[in-house]
């Protein structure tokens, strides 16, 4: 069979199976299990209405359980065991102890903290600026599309693009790296291999994520800005606010909730950052981050114990922010 046809068939049949699950399970509930007739019809209708949400949520819950809850527990187990050819050996917190003695781990943690301090702040800040400015100009929508475009690029793709921007060629050749071209144009003496320069290379990697996430922040914040009642802005103008006061004392406070949601969402992305580092430096030259450290341990060193332990640390860092974020989003929507 032609692969395209096969694909189409697969998609159609999977969708059909999904649809028929809802239809048939609902039919079974209403007609066989708790029929809405006979002596208990009222009780049956009420019971069926209580069961129905669970019935419909069941596939999603099952998938969450298998692909989310189980892996978390399994990772926890792996982080407490040592893998041998003859089976798993319970080692307690030994993996963790080994990990915190590893200088590379602390490099990853401190780099992650640096990413955390810089990327969400700058992405949200630039996003807010872009949202504010593009809302007031005629070609704002075109500008928005361009700023949003990096969102459509995968992290690896973005990393490749920026690797070229930071590229260095010998001095007697034309520089294809934009940064070096600019550096030489403005009087730099020799092309620099930017991504090998500790500390600065971290910032250069962060630029990639900021470049991507600014579009995300802009789109969400732009919608929030447009939701601000026009009258409150007019009232503030009549009250004598200048554009700065208008922005910082009237507009920003009214979208504070959205700013926080954007900020924390980017924070979570940042904590998980992997692809960019993996594709650009692979953690060399002091650019290691937790996710890449985990990948190194788990799949390169084949050290399942320490790899899983580092993932647990990552999860512990993400969870509180995630919980707060979800709560906040829920409050927002009320």
């Amino acid at each position: 069979m032609h692969p395209a046809l096969q694909g189409l068939l697969t998609i159609t049949s999977v969708v059909a199976v999904c649809l028929s699950y809802y239809y048939l399970s609902n039919w079974f509930l209403d007609n066989v299990f708790l029929p809405a007739r006979g002596k208990y019809s009222n009780r049956n209708i009420n019971l069926a209405n209580q069961i129905r949400p669970w019935l419909f949520m069941f596939p999603a819950l099952l998938i969450l359980l298998v692909y989310l809850a189980y892996p978390v527990l399994e990772t926890l187990r792996l982080s407490l065991t040592e893998r041998h050819a003859y089976g798993d050996e319970w080692v307690g917190l030994a993996n963790y102890a080994q990990m915190i003695k590893d200088q590379k781990f602390w490099e990853a943690v401190s780099n992650n903290m640096m990413w955390l301090a810089i990327v969400p702040a700058l992405s949200t800040g630039f996003g807010l600026l872009a949202a504010h400015l593009t809302d007031r100009i005629g070609w704002g929508n075109a500008a928005k599309s361009i700023i949003f475009m990096p969102m459509a690029i995968s992290f690896v793709g973005a990393a490749v693009i920026w690797k070229l921007v930071y590229d260095a060629r010998p001095i007697d050749q034309d520089q294809i790296g934009l940064l070096n071209a600019l550096y030489l144009f403005f009087g730099g003496d020799a092309p620099q291999t930017w991504i090998t320069k500790p500390f600065w290379n971290n910032l250069l990697l962060m630029v990639v994520l900021i470049w991507i996430q600014t579009g995300f922040a802009m789109v969400i914040l732009s919608a929030a800005l447009r939701n601000i009642p026009e009258e409150t802005i007019e009232a503030a103008i009549l009250d004598g606010s200048n554009p700065w006061q208008l922005f910082f004392r009237i507009k920003v406070p009214q979208i504070k909730g959205t700013i926080l949601v954007v900020w924390t969402t980017i924070t979570i992305t940042v904590l998980k950052v992997f692809d960019i580092v993996f594709a650009m430096t692979n953690g060399h030259w002091n650019t290691q981050v937790l996710a890449n450290y985990m990948f190194d341990k788990l799949f390169r060193a084949n050290d399942w114990g320490v790899g899983s332990a580092s993932v647990m640390v990552l999860m512990l860092l993400v969870t509180p922010i995630l919980v707060w974020n979800v709560n906040n989003a829920r409050k927002e929507s009320q």
Partner: protein
């Protein structure tokens, strides 16, 4: 003393659609002017032009003799109360009211004094530390009014301030605004509404806007008694004035108009001989029609009666033309339904319009 002068103000949008044409008005200090008109007549736009929220396309706006067209909104000495209250949702009542003064860098003690004075006047003292979302609609509107008072502006602008309130609160807040005006006799207020009851009760003068321009300016009773044209006649007063087509058959100190069903309406309007034979509309307010057995100006079948206790509205089906006619007669008259009834009106209460313009 604050005088507003609008000289041939014009407003059109960028695509050339005219919103307002040739609006000229003289507003004296201490007046409460009401802009009234159907939706889309430009009354809110005119208010926003005075506020400085809309660009003036052409003409001149003067406040106290000063050219104001290009003056920033905050420097015009005006405060505005919006239909949607426009409170800053993230600030408490106190901060909402003191925002303008803080921006203007007033001393904290002066701000506190102004806020507590306004809060006292508007009975908001207990709510000063609440957020707007914790207040009822009426309280929010009082905060919005308080925010305007605190600034002690020379001119207050109200943009349909009662439209978002329920009927009972509307009456209450209306009276509050009337009191507020009384307590500040030298402040000028401009009030936009589509509700003619608000217009009639609050205004020292009403400006009726329609068809992109001013139709008539006058005191409420002046507009009611002597409308310049059919639009004002029908817009002011509820139910609207009845209009009956006819032809002038006698002129002089009194004018006689023969109506389509051969009834003759006698009006105190003075006409000259040249008006003889003109096709006109006779206007009679529903409340000016009274039941009669003899000479009548109108004879019609009562289609529907609405007894409201104090008076009864009779919706009439006229023999010869289709227009909806209404009579408002004192007392209860449910039994009149489906009967042919005769009505009379005093000559002083009969209006005559030629080409839509009053012949008065």
């Amino acid at each position: 003393m604050t005088q507003l002068k609008l000289i041939s103000l014009e407003k059109s949008y960028n695509n050339g659609t005219p919103v307002l044409k040739n609006v000229s008005l003289d507003i004296q200090s201490g007046e409460l002017i009401v802009f009234v008109g159907p939706s889309g007549c430009g009354k809110s736009t005119l208010l926003r032009m005075i506020a400085g929220l809309e660009q003036i396309t052409d003409g001149t706006l003067e406040i106290d003799g000063q050219y104001m067209n290009d003056m920033p909104a905050s420097k015009r000495g005006i405060a505005m109360v919006f239909q949607s209250y426009a409170l800053y949702p993230h600030l408490t009542v106190r901060d909402n009211m003191s925002f303008a003064l803080k921006i203007a860098k007033y001393k904290q003690s002066d701000i506190d004094a102004a806020v507590s004075k306004a809060a006292k006047a508007l009975k908001l003292e207990d709510y000063l530390d609440r957020l707007p979302k914790e207040l009822s609609g009426g309280q929010r509107q009082r905060v919005a009014i308080g925010r305007a008072i605190v600034r002690d502006p020379k001119v207050f602008l109200f943009d349909e301030p009662l439209s978002n309130l329920d009927a009972a609160l509307r009456v209450e807040t209306r009276i509050e605004i009337a009191r507020l005006k009384e307590s500040m006799p030298d402040r000028t207020m401009i009030y936009v509404t589509h509700d003619q009851v608000e217009a009639m009760t609050l205004a020292s003068r009403i400006v009726v806007l329609a068809n992109n321009t001013v139709e008539q300016v006058g005191t409420p009773l002046d507009l009611y008694d002597n409308p310049d044209n059919e639009f004002v006649a029908q817009f002011i007063g509820s139910p609207a004035m009845n209009l009956l087509p006819g032809e002038i058959v006698a002129t002089g100190k009194q004018t006689k108009v023969k109506l389509s069903d051969n009834c003759v309406a006698v009006s105190n309007i003075v006409t000259s001989e040249s008006d003889l034979g003109k096709q006109v509309n006779v206007g009679i307010r529903p409340e000016d029609l009274s039941l009669t057995e003899d000479d009548h100006v109108l004879e019609a079948v009562v289609d529907i009666t609405e007894a409201l206790g104090e008076y009864t509205l009779l919706y009439l089906k006229h023999v010869s033309h289709a227009a909806n006619l209404v009579a408002k007669v004192p007392g209860t008259h449910k039994s009149l339904r489906n009967k042919l009834i005769k009505f009379i009106a005093k000559p002083s209460k009969i209006h005559i319009f030629h080409d839509g313009i009053s012949m008065r």
